[in-house]
Point group: C2
Chain length 241, copies 2
DNA sequence: AGAAAACATGACTGAACAGTCAAAGTATTT
DNA sequence: AAATACTTTGACTGTTCAGTCATGTTTTCT
């Protein structure tokens, strides 16, 4: 005996909002305010978007992006399913939102480094920009551990569905590394060789190390590890003869 | 007007196989022959298992393990859905089957290398075992490009569902690398430092380079790239002063 | 204050999916 | 050749999921 009435819509009282078409809905980004001001509503909006994003992030780190459903997310966040779709168009948009705070500083760091390299054409310390770049990135990564871990975890794999924003970032990182490596090579900072290879080596090494560190292998989390990484990249593992 | 009769089971003629319980079904591995000989049946079995596995591999490389459904696989392979379940218990078992030919030679190469290192205690060329190891692995990887690519693509991420066998292999590789790095370090082959770090660096660099190469970036596929990878790992990218 | 607009809710829909099974087909044995 | 054991098939079931929408609630505007 299924109780039908339980599943019927709540009894109508007054239709206060008759058939508004979907034009007013904020489409992609949750922080995009559709109409008003900086009052209570805007506050709630931010709070709820963050609630959803951080619930999603937690689940995705546990189970992987694809295994997490919208229902999982709303249950974890403690909101209704319909609310999710007020803040994000779909899972891909959500991932875009989650990744944004990581993407921005990376873009900036890269741009800054490239400019610095262009400026300091043949100054004595052409190495300084690289050092700043590394420091900035390290700072960002540890500022945004969970997001970084999500990126590292889902970095490879098909550029489809919810993983598309991650593939985009991965591509940007590969390309940036190659640009910087090519520059270093052209200026004679590094041994001659294919800069695509050295870029891939550096990215692969740094990302894998970061991934293992962020996974919680505590021995890998000391600042000394970053120093050692740089030492190995610069001078290799071989004991000098 | 749904045509009911269309969806009814085909009309019974003679039940030639009355209610056999599921005990006779070959459970996990498709190559495990349930009864008879080495005749035509065994041949068909192998053929079909390979058909399913390679169809699945193709799809998984395109879309990622999780996005591929059993229906996708059987359509691609051109067999009925029920047949899939005669050969594999589920997607995880299938992935296990796909990975097996890669896992075996890797296990062997590692075991061989460790033994060689243990034997050649303080001989002059303690480096030779590492060189053979690298050569063996390179050979295996390029022998099994697609499987390797699947491994690299799905290597990280949650240890759950169909990805479990891949996580297992990833873990084995990380651990093996660490063992070999620790050995090299203890024997004074490498500069002092945390061997966990150097192991992670080597694995990360090699895997990322292999991944990019297998993705089809043709400039990265020459044998010179492997040489350059080793050079960078041994001596770094820095131009000697 | 009241009106209007944005926001929240969760039952509901239709599609997609993993896994099953009775019936029909094919190799192997006797 | 007939019986037997293994194999194939695809319609079917029950479940899970993304996305919708009518109704109810809160904030903002006037």
């Amino acid at each position: 005996m299924t109780e039908q009435s339980k599943y019927l819509p709540r009894p109508p009282k007054k239709s206060r909002r008759p058939a508004v078409k979907a034009e007013a809905i904020p489409s992609v980004v949750p922080t995009e305010r559709p109409g008003p001001e900086g009052g209570k509503r805007a506050e709630n909006r931010r709070t709820k978007a963050n609630l959803l994003a951080s619930a999603a992030l937690r689940l995705m780190l546990e189970r992987g992006i694809e295994a997490v459903t919208i229902d999982d997310i709303v249950v974890q966040a403690g909101v209704a399913k319909g609310s999710f779709y007020r803040y994000f168009d779909d899972k891909e948009a959500l991932v875009r939102g989650i990744l944004a705070p990581l993407e921005e500083p990376l873009h900036e760091a890269f741009t800054r480094c490239r400019r610095a390299l262009a400026d300091a054409d043949r100054g004595p310390s052409l190495v300084a920009p690289y050092a700043s770049f590394a420091a900035e990135i390290a700072h960002t990564i540890f500022e945004l551990e969970s997001v970084t871990r999500l990126y590292l975890q889902e970095r490879r794999g098909a550029n489809a569905g919810a993983r598309r924003p991650i593939a985009r970032l991965a591509r940007f990182i590969d390309d940036s590394a190659e640009t910087l490596a090519a520059f270093a090579n052209a200026r004679g900072l590094t041994r001659p060789g294919d800069s695509q290879v050295s870029a891939a080596v550096v990215v692969g090494a740094a990302e894998h190390l970061a991934y293992r560190a962020l996974l919680g292998e505590t021995q890998l989390r000391s600042p000394a590890v970053a120093v050692e990484l740089i030492a190995i990249i610069l001078d290799g593992v071989r004991l000098s003869e």
